[in-house]
């Protein structure tokens, strides 16, 4: 009994919180990268449309 209690001493089991923390860190950074990529792609499309309009006007 005493031996088993002794074995339980040590750091708290907080691994799930660590995983949650790093999921947030990498998840939010990934979402931000995706948002940069999507905005870049949308700007490219806008540019193509504007260039087409300009060509038609000329």
């Amino acid at each position: 009994m005493l031996f088993s209690t002794f074995l339980q001493e040590g750091p708290a089991n907080t691994t799930s919180f660590m995983i949650a923390g790093y999921a947030v860190i990498f998840g939010v950074m990934l979402l931000y990268l995706i948002s940069l990529f999507v905005r870049q792609r949308n700007l490219q499309k806008d540019l193509e449309v504007l260039q087409d309009i300009q060509d038609e006007q000329e």
Partner: protein, 232 residues
């Protein structure tokens, strides 16, 4: 659109490699903390994210000052890029802090001075984005944005020093904090190395994202001007 500079591609690759090394150091190199267990490992990227957030907000204030002096719109683009990155990383900082607090403080949230000032800082910069969206004229928007970013930057030192000035339960790892702080720990040399490397890596992440976001802002500005020209 301007082609992507070769140096930016190199910076992308270096940043990814640094992030992989930093992640390895956090999970496998730094030892497990004796009392808190694995959740203490959140600390390395939590502090680094706070560092990047504050770099962003200070960068926005500097850009604001330069804009007000030079009246060059490119500094408005730089300021907006800095604020946006700052918001993303302060959000990460606050959420990871809350996750760490649950097992250590036995609560997800408490209105502690550090947590409160960090949240107010985040809200101040979210309001910066809202302010910009409400102004049509680009020059007026840039001028208001610059003044707002300069005044808003006062929240950065207030947040940083809040855990050192006020009575708080938030631990202070660098320097001395309130002795009643809950969750303090002494870093071993290997923990210090992982921590410093994380700060170094996140500084690279900031520079890399900042460059990408500035390029995006410049392209958006060019397209806006082209659109106005087309409409004339």
């Amino acid at each position: 659109m301007n082609p992507k500079p070769r140096l930016l591609t190199v910076l992308d690759i270096v940043t990814i490699i640094l992030l992989l090394i930093a992640t390895y150091m956090v999970f496998f190199y730094a030892p497990q903390e004796a009392v808190m267990g694995d959740v203490q490992r959140v600390f390395y990227f939590h502090v680094a994210a706070g560092w990047v957030g504050m770099l962003g907000f200070i960068g926005a204030a500097i850009s604001g000052i330069i804009y007000l002096i030079k009246k060059d719109r490119k500094w408005d683009i730089v300021g907006l890029a800095a604020v946006e990155i700052g918001i993303v990383f302060i959000f990460i900082n606050i959420v990871t802090g809350s996750i760490w607090a649950r097992p250590i403080w036995n609560t997800w949230w408490t209105w502690d001075p550090r947590l409160t000032t960090a949240t107010v800082m985040l809200l101040i910069y979210l309001a910066y984005l809202m302010l910009r969206q409400g102004i049509e004229d680009p020059d007026r928007r840039a001028r208001f944005g610059a003044v707002y970013a300069i005044i808003g930057s006062l929240s950065v030192p207030l947040t940083y020093f809040s855990a050192r000035i006020f009575r708080t339960i938030h631990p202070v790892v660098i320097g001395s904090g309130d002795p009643t702080a809950t969750g303090s720990f002494d870093m071993t040399p290997m923990m210090t190395q992982a921590f410093m490397f994380s700060l170094f890596t996140f500084t690279f992440i900031f520079i890399d994202l900042f460059w990408h976001r500035i390029r995006l802002g410049q392209e958006a500005d060019q397209i806006e001007q082209l659109r106005l020209k087309t409409m004339e």
